[in-house]
Structures are given as C-alpha cells and as structure tokens.
Symmetry: C2
Subunit: 248 residues, 2 copies
DNA sequence: TAGGGGAACTTGTACAAACAAGCGAGCCCC
DNA sequence: GGGGCTCGCTTGTTTGTACAAGTTCCCCTA
C-alpha cells in the first residue's frame, strides 16, 4: 500500500520530468492541486515536501512554488550501495574481493564499531568494464560471519546481507574529500600513483543505531560525481574543515 | 516570531546535546512530548522531523525514536558562502580577487546564465592564513555591475551582494568530484601541479529560479571535507529506486 | 509617472480527530 | 524451553479547520 501523498508526489514528479512544468515555472497552488487530486491540502503539502527534499521544487511563504530542476538528487540507497546506484543509472557493473582478513579492533575502531575481531575486506569494483572504485570496508564482528559467507564476486553486498540475515542499512554518515592514489590504489585502478581520487568515507548503522561497517571508498577521478541540490530549507550536506586524522 | 515546533525542536536538541537523551536511547513518545509541551501531536511531529533531517534522531513506524548522534549538521547557506561557513565554524578567513574580466557568453553558458556579457572572476581564499580555495566564478550579466563595485579583498561576496542589491542566493546545485591541480591552481594554492584537489562546481539561482552564477571551486586536498548524513526514512525515493521493495 | 495602500492569493503554522501499520513484550500452548 | 499469537503502544497517513505571514498585482493618489 503506497501512501496517497507519495502517489501524488509521483504524479507531480512525472509531470515535471516530462516537461509539463518547465524549469523556472510555477507549480499550481496547493488548493488547486488538492482539488485536482481530490485530497486534503495537508496531503498535497506532504507530496510537494517530498519533491522539495529531492531538490525538484523550491518554495517560500506567500509565493507559488518554483520548479528548480529535472534531475533527482542522489538518493540514500545510491550513496550506500554501489550496485543499486549503478543499476538505477543503467550501468554494467561488477565487484571482486581482493583481500579479506580478520583482525582485532584498534582503540578508535572499538569506539565506532564495537569490540571484538573485525573483518576487513578490500574490494575492486568495475563500472561498464572499467575499474573505478577501491573499497576498503571494515565490518563489525556481529556481521562478519554473514559477510564471509558471500561469494568473492558478490555484486551487491547490501542486498545479499539483506537476503541472508535481514540486515538493513538504515542510517549513514558520509565524508567526501580528495586524496592521492597510493601504490595499491594506482595498481588496482590503473592510474599513476599520486593521481587524484575522490574519497567517500562512510559509517553505516542499523535502525537502532548499532554500527555495521565503516568504509573508505576511492573513486578514480572522473568516474563518479556527487551531486547535491540544496534549497534554503533542508539539505543534509555540510562542509567541514579537514583535520580528521582521528579516523584510523 | 519563532514557530512553536522550532522552539520544541530547540528544546529537544538541547536535551540531546546535553546528554539527557544519550546516543542509542529512546526519545519519549510523541503523545508524551505533546503533553509535556502542551502542543498537538502534529506540532511535535514537525519538531522531531527537524531533528531527523539534522541527523540527530531516527525513526521507524511502530518503534520509539532513537537518538543517533550529537553532532548537528546545521548548514543552510553554508554551501553557498565560504565566508558564512568559515565564520560559523570559528575560522579566520580572507579572500582576494586575482583576475576579473568581462567576456561574451558561450553557447552553453547562455543556456545556463542567460545572454549578454558575463563577468568572470578568479578569487583566492584563505582559511586560517593558508590558501585553500581557488574560485572561478562566472556571474550573469544582470549582477555583474554589482560585483564589479565590490572591493578586491571583499570577504563575503554573498553578504555584500545582499547588502547592495538585496540579492538572495536561494537555491543551488552542487557537483562534487576530484581533479588534478593545473599550473595556475598549483601556483595559487602552493601545491605541485597534478596533485589532487576537491572540486565543487555549483550553479546558484534566486528565489524565482533566475540563475545568478556558476562557479568552479577547487579546494586543496585535506583542507575541506564534505559531510552528508542520511537515513532511509528521510528519503522516500529509496523505495522506488532499488529492487528491494521490502526495504524501509 | 512614481510611489503607497490594499486586496486577493499562497504558503506556513497549529490544532483536533480518526484510522492504518508496524513493533515489542508478555502470554499461552505445545 | 521454544514457538506462535495477541494486545497495547507508537509512529505513519489523512482529513478538516482556522489563522498567521508573506507575495503579487492592481488601483488610487500625489
């Protein structure tokens, strides 16, 4: 059962994407839409709020809503799962485990992932046949057995873990910056050592806030771009001064 | 006049930051909070929705809300204005125009910024005394005169333009990737040519969707990090994007 | 013609009520 | 002891109403 406001949001999104509401034009008023969809104004408000967080429309009190763009911003699943992102965007993709080993947690890691023997995995992922991403992931002890059971060429770890143990990656924090390719990075990605990589470090937790993994993902320059749309109201992206050596 | 739900959100945020609700603990139920603050349940829902988009709490249907963290991501205009971001985070900062010239718009630029003679500005910005950012900004013709009146060492272009002509940067799209430093980049930032830079390309518009500027900003690696907090609940798109319909 | 004053419209906030959907704990039965 | 089930609690969805606050545009006036 899909909520009514979501169906309304879908309908409006489709209209915008189809060009019925060009970029820069005004959306119909809430009351107008409420009449058209036979819903209460509050329900329509929820629908347009969805479009606003997607960055498609902007609004301010007193004035009609404005269509801001026609491209959806990065969605949650896309940030967490390379496979889901690639599939949603129509790319061929693959993955291969290069290295995998158990090791005790450092002090900093214990604080983030809990105590015990962590599982460290190095994966190389390809997009349209090209190697584009080196993933260094550290899993908490309680998920390690499930990860170790996965095949080395598992396409989507996120989906596989959901299938096998019902694990849901519910929340995440992502830090994005640029780094030089190390020797191993360069060898795996086929670039010279020192060339620029786009790095996304993330930590993921379950619904109840239990940490699942932390990862250091490095994209070959040019292969992937992060896109964020922000309005005055709500945007989840912030800039930070870089001093996070406390990471390892 | 601050909205009621914002005052409630402020109160709850303060409690969380003060440790009254530790990370991982459950927040009181909506009805409980409604009783405590003497507000309707819907108002309390709006308040906790604010905390959810800030990444402080997470929620799922049927279960009590969970406290996820104690670091607030409070960026509204922070992505648009280097000065506002730096000031809000207690950094010393400065800026200097290196080059500035008028030139006709290319075809692609006409589509993005409108026709006419654009204004191209190259700025170098410092953070805590260090050069960290090369900004190459192209302004639409209608803002160019106001920009040309600014002093070369103007600290905050965003604020100055608001003061002088009431211009508000309301919406923006940001593309983030990694690039190699060019010869000019390296000279200005004091790094070797070819070393990694974090690039943020943005286009900004006013409230009514009129484009104001596009910019190519390059940060020295390590100086600035972008941070995103996200949750499944806050992004209804997930359900549509992947194959995991049962998610959520 | 330039500017001020409204009036109509639009979005934002708040309340109340009801039902749906999902979670968790405790209970019962085997 | 383990498994399944029910029931109460909690969050999610929807409708309706009322008022507040901000925008837009027209008209009137100086």
């Amino acid at each position: 059962m899909v909520a009514r406001y979501e169906r309304i949001a879908d309908a409006l999104r489709e209209e915008i994407l189809a060009g019925a509401h060009p970029v820069g034009s005004q959306l119909p008023s809430e009351s107008e839409l409420a009449g058209r969809f036979g819903a209460a104004r509050g329900t329509v408000r929820q629908a347009v709020a969805v479009l606003a967080t997607e960055g498609l429309v902007g609004s301010r009190q007193g004035a009609r809503r404005i269509v801001l763009g026609r491209a959806r911003s990065q969605s949650f699943a896309e940030l967490h799962s390379f496979a889901q992102w690639a599939r949603a965007n129509g790319h061929r993709f693959g993955g291969q485990v290069i290295e995998q080993r158990r090791r005790p947690a450092s002090a900093a890691e214990s604080a983030r992932l809990g105590h015990g023997e962590l599982l460290e995995v190095l994966r190389l992922r390809t997009l349209d046949g090209e190697p584009v991403l080196v993933e260094r992931t550290v899993y908490a002890e309680w998920v390690a057995p499930a990860v170790e059971r996965l095949p080395a060429d598992c396409e989507s770890v996120t989906e596989a873990l959901y299938e096998s143990i019902g694990l849901v990656f519910a929340y995440g924090e992502h830090l994005i910056d640029a780094v030089s390719a190390g020797a191993q990075d360069g060898r795996l990605l086929g670039v010279r050592r020192g060339s620029p990589l786009l790095r996304q470090r993330r930590t993921t937790t379950t619904y109840d806030g239990r940490p699942v993994e932390t990862s250091d993902d490095r994209y070959r320059a040019g292969s992937v771009i992060f896109s964020i749309r922000n309005s005055i109201g709500a945007n989840p992206l912030v800039r930070r001064a870089g001093d996070l050596r406390s990471w390892r």
